[in-house]
Amino acid sequence: MWTYIARRLLQSVVVIIGVTFISFIALQIGGDPTYLFVSERATEEEIEMVRRALGFDRPLHVQYLSFLGNLLQGDFGMSLSYRQPAIDIVLGALPATIELTLLSILVSVGLAVPFGVFAALYRGTALDGGIMTVAMFGQSVPNFWQGIMMILFLGLYLKWFPISGHVPFLLPLLQGDLAAAFGNLPMALYYLAMPAVAVGTYSLARNARLVRSSMLEVLGQDYVRTARSKGLTEYTVIVHHALRNAWLPVVTMIGLEFGFLIGGVVVIETVFSYPGIGRLVFNAINQRDIPVVQAAVVLLSMVFICLNLIVDLIYARIDPRVKL
């Protein structure tokens, strides 16, 4: 197993270099970013000075290689718009986004399993039809629209939830301030509820359908029939035999899910004015703040790679057929 992990980590180095290369190219083909960092009255000499100061006067390959060199030392450079180390800016925004994605994964998996199982158990009934219809709609509604409607209806009209904003939980936790973190927790969840649901709805719907169909498949298989015929209670059959296998496909999805959720996060963070990495990096791309974009992209792909590695390891543990 350790050689497997080592090989995967080695591959991920290649992947991360590839990721930085692509974003470097994407940010450079738009032309010289210097003009975003000079005032409108700057003279040619001043512009040239800024260009040199920012290092945009060097040939592209030199810029990229020196970026890679610094990256090896863990240095992403200074943010061009915040004038702070880029990695600090990104790390500052990361906890909020992790809270959001974790909760939406929790929503999308935690609710998907019972929904999918019940739909499968009551296949063909109104319950099944109801759950699946809602799931189908959940998979068809654009998330920004859902977010705005939630704000207007649940936030403004019914006043059940706060409209926008964020109460930090992970950040104080990471800083070691346990009292503040857990004091904030109820409020943090309260503020997170709407954005997390908005981000997670699509996945929730898809996972519920996934669980349902794999549950149906499992229920039809021999060992479940055997278990039943042995006179085990329906509860034991379902929980101990069917369910264990039915949510395997969902576990595989979680790894890939992260990349997908980040997509929703960019949009939803804007709608709920949520101070996370999605909005940060969208703004950074818009301001061509290359160090921040690079730091964010590298960090996100590292999270993605680790998550997938963990999922694969878990998978190998719960599914004895898989060998690493």
Partner: protein, 308 residues
């Protein structure tokens, strides 16, 4: 498709014309039995018809503005004796006409992006699975890079630089899809590579390209079709999300996604028709693709089939 099926007669491929006809008949029976997919199919056919003939049916020029008649309610009088059956938008353009034109572009973006992503992915997957070795490694690493790079960020970067446009959107959304196709194709190719009919084709002296495209490809079309039908749905949603970020089509080009994105400022002012009609169009279409995809998967998945 018909081409390869015809050639298959002399090449020991497992599919034959009579198989195809029988398959179609079976598919239709299963479709009718399942009921909902029939409705979904009917809706999609209607949407395609609208996409093709919509411009001819549209009562007004979808881009003709009339800011004095903006935000008119459905049924309100339009310019020169016309009626805004579904209301007018923030620039006084006819929502119905834009919806009809929008069908064409939304579907075009959906299908074309799948075509682009599918083509790249299938070719990459076939090559990767058939040849293996370093080619396989390179292609799969490229796929890993793509997957590790949150797609939306990639799309934002390229669309900001390239500027809004239908072609750019198709390219970006298409390239975002290729890995899925490549992985599935590769897995299928790996398992097919050693099958008897492929070895038979090889023994008959077929070239590599012929084996890959004529012998292997037709046999993996089924799972790819399932993926594609789900994918059209997610591409339509992705287009809407990019429109929300201001990175979709140019403002004068109507798509359902961009119409919905444009409606967001007026939601609080209760101009419901701006969001409801394009929203319904998206939901109904995406829903239909999903239902059809579900059915197709059940129909084509041999394990589920065995269970009957």
């Amino acid at each position: 498709m018909t081409d390869s099926a015809g050639d298959g007669l002399t090449r020991l491929a497992p599919r034959r014309d009579s198989d195809l006809a029988r398959g179609m008949k079976r598919a239709w029976r299963s479709l009718v039995a399942a009921r909902w997919p029939v409705l979904a199919l009917a809706i999609l056919i209607a949407v395609v018809v609208v996409a093709i003939f919509g411009p001819a049916m549209s009562p007004l020029d979808p881009n003709r503005q009339n800011i004095m008649l903006r935000l008119a309610e459905p049924g309100a009088a339009g310019p020169r004796g016309a009626t805004f059956w579904l209301g007018s938008d923030a620039l006084g353009r006819d929502v119905l006409s834009r919806l009809l034109y929008g069908a064409r572009i939304s579907l075009l973006v959906g299908f074309a992006a799948i075509a682009v992503g599918g083509t790249i992915g299938i070719v990459a997957g076939l090559v990767s699975g058939y040849f293996g070795g370093w080619t396989d490694d390179v292609i799969m690493r490229l796929g890993d890079i793509q997957l590790a790079f949150p797609f939306i960020l990639l799309a934002i970067m390229f669309l900001i630089v390239l500027g809004p446009g239908v072609m750019n959107l198709i390219l970006v959304l298409g390239i975002g899809q290729w890995v899925t196709y490549a992985r599935i194709t590769r897995a299928q190719t790996l398992s097919l590579r050693e099958k008897e009919f492929v070895e038979a084709a090889r023994a008959l002296g077929d070239g590599t390209a012929a084996i890959i495209f004529r012998t292997i490809l037709p046999n993996i079309v089924a799972p790819l079709t399932v993926i594609a039908s789900f994918n059209v749905a997610s591409v339509i949603l992705a287009e809407a999300a990019l429109s929300f970020l201001g990175l979709g089509v140019p403002p004068s080009v109507p798509t359902w996604g961009s119409m919905l994105a444009e409606s967001r400022d007026t939601l609080i002012a209760n101009k419901w028709w701006l969001a409801t009609f394009p929203g319904l169009a998206i939901v109904v279409t995406v829903l239909s693709f999903n239902i059809l995809g579900d059915w197709l998967r059940d129909f084509l998945d041999p394990r589920l089939k065995e269970r009957g």
